[in-house]
Symmetry: C2
Subunit: 196 residues, 2 copies
């Protein structure tokens, strides 16, 4: 039987300034956790010798595990670059490939990079304050902060979605978003590798 009092306790607050969400499990990713994610390995190692800053955090709440349940997380992605490439999340596919995700932008300026792994189809979709992005099933997705303040968003996904980071770790996204002349530019990874 549903215990409503228990669910009512989960109801909480999110803070787009501190990135905190009451009662959430917090994961923090520092630069050192992102080895292999950025296209410019030399710039990455050089930055890491200077410091190991927090790149992003995700605060997740998982109220239930039933087929109709949902999980949600508050993401905070810091502004910055490794070489010319904007700070980004590792990115993932859902383990249950059909699972979609809705991203609700709350603060900052950035985008989500979408890729359909089997065909390599890619899309950049704006994500920032006041925007919503739908990530369909079967689609790898990564957040990218192209602005000067933290990019803050809430993602909602089916409880049974699961996260598959391995596929991305094995073969990175085919596209890379770099800054050129002060603006974001989407290029092929193969085109950029070794040149930035």
């Amino acid at each position: 039987m549903i215990n409503l009092a228990q669910y009512a306790k989960l109801a909480g607050t999110y803070d787009i300034t501190t990135g905190e969400m009451k009662g959430a499990a917090l994961v923090r990713r520092h630069l050192s956790d992102l080895r292999g994610s950025f296209v410019d390995a030399q710039a990455f190692e050089s930055a890491l010798r200077q410091s190991d800053p927090l790149i992003y955090s995700v605060s997740s709440i998982e109220p239930g595990k039933g087929q109709g349940d949902l999980h949600y997380g508050l993401g905070v992605l810091m502004p910055g670059k490794v070489g010319a490439e904007y700070y980004l999340t590792k990115g993932h596919l859902h383990a249950w490939r059909e699972a979609a995700e809705v991203y609700i932008g709350l603060r900052g300026t950035g985008c989500i990079l979408l890729e359909e792994p089997s065909t390599g189809q890619s899309q950049i979709v704006p994500l920032g304050k006041g925007s919503i992005v739908y990530v369909p099933g079967h689609t790898a997705h990564r957040s990218i902060n192209t602005g000067l303040e933290p990019l803050v968003y809430i993602g909602v996904y089916p409880a049974s979605a699961g996260h598959d980071y391995g596929s991305i770790a094995k073969q990175n996204f085919r596209k890379v978003l770099i800054e050129r002349d002060g603006h974001p530019l989407l290029l092929d990874r193969t085109e950029v590798a070794g040149k930035v």
Copy 2:
């Protein structure tokens, strides 16, 4: 095959001032659409003789119909009262009873009234700017605006959730949220009926 360009087109903006969401299907509920929802039938008819104001709107986007897909909507519930009872939405159960819903509060002050119909268990959970509410499956839910400005929120739910308004229309929520001495007070409907 996934057509990412098509999904990218769905990505849009939401506006917490106008209540608009790009590309959404808009439903508007006026006072006359809410006959039977408020406890004080006399106050309702009397208000309706004066005017038929907009009580709430919901802008919905339904990107897909697969098992892992999600739908989402931007709700805007106006401030006001019928008699002593705050403006509210009709409320619904999901046709697929297991389907949950995540509410993300973006503006204003209010709450969600939860009720498990078979037992009558009820809970009031705050919903407003900076709050998140999880509505578990098998739970009737209704938004209530207890503030002085529009209550704006985004709801995300499984694509296969469906809406069952009939059960609520047949037997209203057992609890009623009224204003007393300037504050919200949750009472039993049977206790209030005929007395407000």
